[in-house]
Symmetry: C3
Subunit: 651 residues, 3 copies
């Protein structure tokens, strides 16, 4: 099936007599999927056991009559107020020990088993009531797990759950004491029930204590989701179960949770995400009305991997949002360009959030495809244009394996937050810097988990800043015949968050004869320049090695070393250094590239190559040898412009 | 009566044998009013029901013998320690749920009815004991309501009070659910007793939830004050009851509270207020030793309006204070100039805080008219000079209606704090920017509440950033024949904090045919320049309109539109843009202005025009056509200089 | 005995079969002292009363066999987890009222008497088991009192203890009310049990309330230490009892605690301390890999004074640490240079922290002399070099009295934190600025407490920013015949934190006829230049005086005044002004100085002068007239270089 558009809709916010007209207009725009229901619990069950499902069935009827497929969200992200009367201890507790109350959303604790049962109950009720509806297109579980920092709760329920989880993992408290190195600072435990959560301590916790709590918390999110998934799959095995992830919330392992979803989706708000990101101010100014040109793309590739190859955008920013400190209007055309970028990366559906701007509640300043007065907002016209273009170009096709892959690992994300050592060093930042450096050359990239057992088929694989080797990844590295780029900190810890006996990067000597003997962390303003260009900043390792030194800094410290096709980068570089290293790898691996104008990016899907101009100025494409003309736009690109080329191989 | 000086005095801080000499010296300086008592409860009632009023009566006797009139402050801002034993739950609770203890001041919860009774009791006792005293000049209720963030308390008392207030307001929970839009995020309630306070939530509360809590809290402050007012008026109908407001604490509606006062007063600390303000660093440096040239003036005009035309300065900064991060010594002469500015705006009394610098307690670094060793501080000489000048010039007279009015609305202040959308956009900031731009032209301005039913008599009225139209204000606008300047966000919400059906600014088409269809909020560093000068920053609206476009920005977005004499400004401009818009309005309305040197400001009272030079350099006045010579100073003004001209109309 | 090296060692972290080899290598490097045990409680007493002391005795045996002397740390900084089951209320409470839990270190409340008994019990057990061991070289009590902000606890135990302490101090609540000035803001108490801790108030507490709480808390630390000291001295009167202070934690009075230690020691981490200091960014960049050239030296002189002339470095930074935001690798050679600087200031032992980098726990990124894989880290070679040099030079000798002394007073440190008035003004900052200005001239300085009864023997004494005169210090000043530099704020308060009757600096007229009549505090960016160079910033006093004006600022405000040999500085100057004032004093006092190259510092011990080059460039020494050649290095100094000259007087 070729990709299509969707939209998020809240029939419970509007008079029923508006529904028909809304559905008709959705259909006119070319929308094919409508997500509903994910915040509607108080209208589905206004008081305990008083179920009011009729209105939802009628809403699905109306939408179905207009040829729309409906995705129903389980409403578990917003339990109604009476649920708190029933389970007063289901509320989450923050790191300061303060209970978070009712009155916004996500007011539940993943560790609370009573609420997990309630979530199962309402899921079962919805499955029973709507599972057979002909307009049903699938399910969404809950909404944006982890949003607003809700992965972690410091409640009694979490403490008891964590103790039990530790007992399951370690078997005996002696084993735990040894694995955690509790001889340090007299932290030995006598019994599992003595182990507290790693908050409100005098100073920082043992890093493995913190990491195990993050692992535990991640497991609870997965377990919470699995309960719903199992119910929905048992009832309707053929309908996809989806969750809508948020890109910024990496507190739980999305690959792990994805064992209980069929299709991944994510909620893409490029402008807000840039505003709250760690990107330098210069980038924030340059792309204030476009969003970062690589960040959404990275997440498209990530969630394609999370979703076992299948993924959607469940919420696509249509105009200004309401939740950043400043919420700029996107450049005219961006609502179209963002959709095209997603489709280029393999999205099956891009669903705009939301159909009509709500005049009340927390998000009343969040735009929609319609204004609050039901007149079309700019996003409405963008959606109509995308629909028409998709159809005219007959756009679609499968995603080929990229020639480059980057490992993204949630546990490493947590680990380097726990043990900063250099403020601002982050696993994700390092991954995205390498991703960007490849993408600027028009290279298509896959994002892989740390459980990947083989790199066969890739020309280059990057492992940017991995906490600890997995058995799978050791195998993948051992058997890989392409070029491997290993980044700083990689392999510098065991899975128990301690330094490996042979020191990092902990690779066999035949692959890389090198030991990291000392770490030098320095503020960005005191970066050490690298001979030939670029600089090391934040993280800088000193290695004892017999490998070849490819690059070194002004103090003769090796920055890039090589043994055969394995390259190890010892520092976190500025953008210039990362680009130099990636360019070097591309040259070594003889990888084909495109010559893209500044601000322009590209991605191949099936027989198409999609170009998007993120710059604020027009750009002119250099025609690539493998292209046979344009099906959308042409070589002259306006700001926010989209050009789709047909590949010659297609003929 | 011509205006006079006052001073704040704490007899309980000093040996009784000092009182006589103090009173004599006050009288010598020309002081006529002395405020006492507002923190003396522990000395008036050292243990429960053990009343010790004699010393206060003796103090009033001494002051009276020297011709001084005494204002007695009810001591309710500082209940004694034993009161907490009696009412342990009267302590306020902060937004994190922490109880705030005894040991400073304002340690009570406005929602606590038991303490409200205690406040009534001590008020009654003081009224009985001192109501007939011939030296009594009036009463002050409590002290600086709202100071230190005390308007809001998140206690059980507040929660129960809020629930009751909501029940009174909405009648049924169904009505509340509908008014609040609780379908959004499943926030419906089944009973009023389920509604919590809008603190400690997972993410932000529903804006109407937050706004109603602010309304409730404001009502409690007014109710607390009314209890004291009613007692004092019943006993002594002819003596004025005053409260001393603080300019920076807008958390309760001062207009609303003022229904229970006869005279408004405020505590003016120009240097500290500038230090803690949002003014740009450049202004803070320029006026570090003077205070902002327009901020105190704005508050003078505001409190004249709050006080039904009658107002005082109850506390006037006499020298360095103690509570900002840096506490600079004022420019020599400022303690005199500030008093003159206040008198120019209609102050009946300017009362310096305090007579003698305290050597102990929290404010020991706060200067007084006397040093701690009883020698004169610079403020002493300033006070003596002001007294002499007032008398010599026979200064006084009523305040004529200004030709310009600006609407200042407390609910809008709260609303735009609740829903920022652009960090740094504030109602008050916008109001003061417009006020300043008029004042730089020597224009006299009135500040009006949003309940003003008619603008008759004004040439220009500005409604800078109003949350929602009131019935009164709609009438005023409808019947106004002058020039009206309506600012961004005005009318963009209903009173229930939702977007009006017809979108903002929600004016009848015959007055302004315009709809705000989109809002673009941007950091100050990325301001969009306006053709002809100035720039839009923070808040920028896109309108659908048939009105005339007077100014537009570099992207052709209308910035100032006009329909007849109604002007709508779509953005929050930088100072240059606001000045251009105001200049344009002044020209359109043909308003007479003065040509003031930089740093100099003026105000007319009765037959006098008072000039103050806030600059750090001397300035030369351009004589105005309506002046007939000077009664204080002359055309050459030193820094901190004061010149008072006599108007020709006086003859 | 000549000074020697030591090292910190954790036998409980390593397999027992490593101990022998470790001890042998320590001995080879020239190490003579080994500190062990201070975090080992959970291994000494794994469950209540189950004592396992054998391993520690075996460890001491092994170390002793290799000629090493052992310092045993009492493990009271890290009570084991079961202790919390026994005394749940022993956990400390932070200023927000949150209990701090188990899982890091220092998780106890100094006010908890039950835990004080447990600390006595384990101390007694260790004394009994190891007191006779021939390898025992002394004791360390606890570890780094006050680290992580643990001097203050806001628990019930602290509240009750504080009430009792106040009762002891003041006798009656009336006396306290008067001493505290509680008439201010109605803060009078009726009974001691009504007095709370000065946290969680509506606004700031009465400064004397805050200061008395700090005094009380300081007393608890001293009392906690004394319990251990008394036990250890009773058992082994000849062995030194030491505590290892941290330079940055001045929340308790180190002079006061030192009544219960024989030798002071401190933990010196020059790079981390610079990173977390208030030094300007320029200094932080310049000395990022060296540490501030004067800060460690200041603390060496301070702790020599605290330790009654005897002091050690118990923990010396050997390489990168783990606890600052950035943790740079020291300049090659700094681990040697830091040790030499300490020895130059009289250290008996410099003990590196730690022998081998731990692969687990909170400090796994903290380097040691060995890497985690037991190979030598750079610190290992540095230690070996220092050992060899000490021996070859036969370095040692007593510390002569310096010609300059500076008063450092803990209570003043607290006072100016409590009453800032100018953000960034600190007692310690002022002391160190003056110390630095002398040291740049090669002047040797002593640091004295405010209880010093005589300045006899000094040429110049500085009292930089003293809260209140003590009887002793008044005597010292009265009888002093040298030059005295008194800094701003000095004597501006009584011991009850109120302004003295005669105003500051509160000196007799025959010594200094001057009164501070007004204080002007201003941001650094608005400093007022001083005629002749430098500027006043932050704190600026206006004085009424008949003394001679030596320096004045551009507004003719006196900056340095003199009456005979007593100089009073009225402002806190920038570095240039402080240097000018110190240079002026040096010239007046005719004090001999050295001409040191930039970045180089010197210190005399016995017959040696030690030079250290803190600069990043080589430097050439100007030979001093009193030197008779070099025993380590020579006149050409590399970065991090050390040169030791032999004084001619030695012959
Ligand atoms: Zn979210
Ligand atoms: Zn809290
Ligand atoms: Zn106040």
């Amino acid at each position: 099936m070729n990709p299509v558009l969707g939209v998020c809709y809240y029939p419970e916010h509007w008079p029923e007599d508006l529904w028909e007209r809304d559905a008709a207009r959705m259909s006119e725009v070319g929308i094919r999927y409508v997500r509903i229901g994910e915040f509607a619990w108080s209208r589905l069950e206004p008081t305990p056991d008083n179920l009011q499902l009729d209105w939802m069935i009628r809403a699905v009827d109306v939408l179905g009559r207009h040829g729309l497929k409906v995705i129903i969200g389980t409403p578990t992200a917003t339990p109604p107020r009476w649920m708190i009367d029933k389970h007063p201890d289901m509320l989450p507790v923050d790191a300061n020990g303060h209970v978070k109350g009712f009155g916004s959303r996500r007011h539940y604790d993943f560790s609370h088993l009573g609420y997990r049962d309630e979530a199962a109950r309402i899921t079962r009720i919805l499955a029973d009531a709507l599972g057979d509806h002909p307009a049903l297109g699938g399910w969404q579980t809950d909404n944006e797990y982890g949003c607003h920092g809700t992965t972690y709760s410091y409640s009694d329920a979490a403490r008891l759950g964590f103790q039990h989880w530790l007992e399951e993992k370690y078997g005996s408290v002696e084993t735990l004491n040894k694995a955690w190195g509790n001889a340090f600072w007299s932290m030995d435990y006598n019994r599992f029930d003595q182990i507290g959560l790693p908050n409100l301590l005098v100073c920082e916790p043992n890093p493995i204590h913190a990491l195990d709590f993050r692992r535990y918390s991640s497991d609870q999110v997965a377990a919470f989701n699995k309960v719903q998934y199992d119910i929905l799959k048992a009832r309707m095995p053929d309908l996809p179960v989806i969750h809508n992830f948020m890109s910024r919330y990496a507190e739980f392992d999305h690959f792990d949770l994805a064992k209980s979803i069929d299709v991944a989706s994510w909620d893409s708000y490029p402008i807000g995400h840039l505003a709250v990101s760690d990107e330098p101010d210069e980038i924030k100014r340059l792309y204030m009305r476009q969003g970062d040109p690589d960040n959404a793309a990275f997440h498209h590739d990530l969630y394609r991997s999370v979703g076992h190859g299948r993924w959607w955008i469940m919420e696509q920013q249509p105009g200004p949002v309401n939740w950043a400190q400043f919420n700029p209007d996107p450049l005219p055309g961006m609502a179209r360009a963002w959709a095209w970028e997603a489709f280029a990366h393999g999205a099956e559906v891009v669903s705009y959030f939301r159909w009509r701007q709500a005049p009340f509640g927390q998000e009343q300043m969040h735009s929609g495809l319609l204004r609050p007065d039901s007149e079309p907002a700019p996003g409405y016209h963008a959606a109509a244009q995308v629909s028409a273009e998709l159809q005219k170009a007959n756009f679609g096709g499968d995603m080929a394996r990229g020639r480059v892959a980057v490992i993204y690992d949630y546990q490493s994300e947590w680990a380097w937050e726990i043990e900063q050592q250099a403020r601002g060093f982050s696993h994700g930042g390092h991954v995205r810097a390498i991703y960007s450096a490849f993408r600027k050359h028009g290279v298509d990239i896959d994002v892989l988990p740390s459980t990947t057992p083989s790199f066969e088929g890739y020309d280059i694989v990057a492992i940017p800043a991995l906490l600890a080797w997995t058995v799978a990844l050791r195998d993948a590295v051992n058997t890989f015949e392409g070029h491997l780029l290993v980044g700083p900190r990689t392999g510098s810890k065991t899975e128990n968050f301690s330094i490996p006996k042979g020191l990092g990067p902990d690779l066999p000597q035949n692959l890389l004869d090198a030991k990291v003997t000392r770490v030098d962390t320095i503020p960005p303003g005191l970066a050490v320049t690298v001979k030939g260009g670029g600089a090391s900043q934040l993280w800088r390792e000193k290695v004892e090695t017999r490998a070849k030194v490819v690059m070194e800094d002004s103090e003769d410290v090796p920055v890039l070393i090589a043994q055969g096709k394995l390259f190890y980068m010892t520092s976190s570089g500025d953008r210039a250094l990362v680009q130099r290293v990636v360019d070097y790898l591309i040259a070594e691996a003889n990888l084909p590239t495109l010559n893209l104008p500044a601000g322009v990016r590209s991605r191949v899907r099936g027989d198409f190559r999609v170009y998007v101009n993120y710059g604020s100025s027009p750009a002119t494409l250099n025609a690539a040898a493998d292209e046979a003309g344009y099906v959308v736009g042409g070589p002259e690109m306006e700001p926010a412009g989209v050009t789709v080329a047909r590949l010659a191989t297609a003929d």
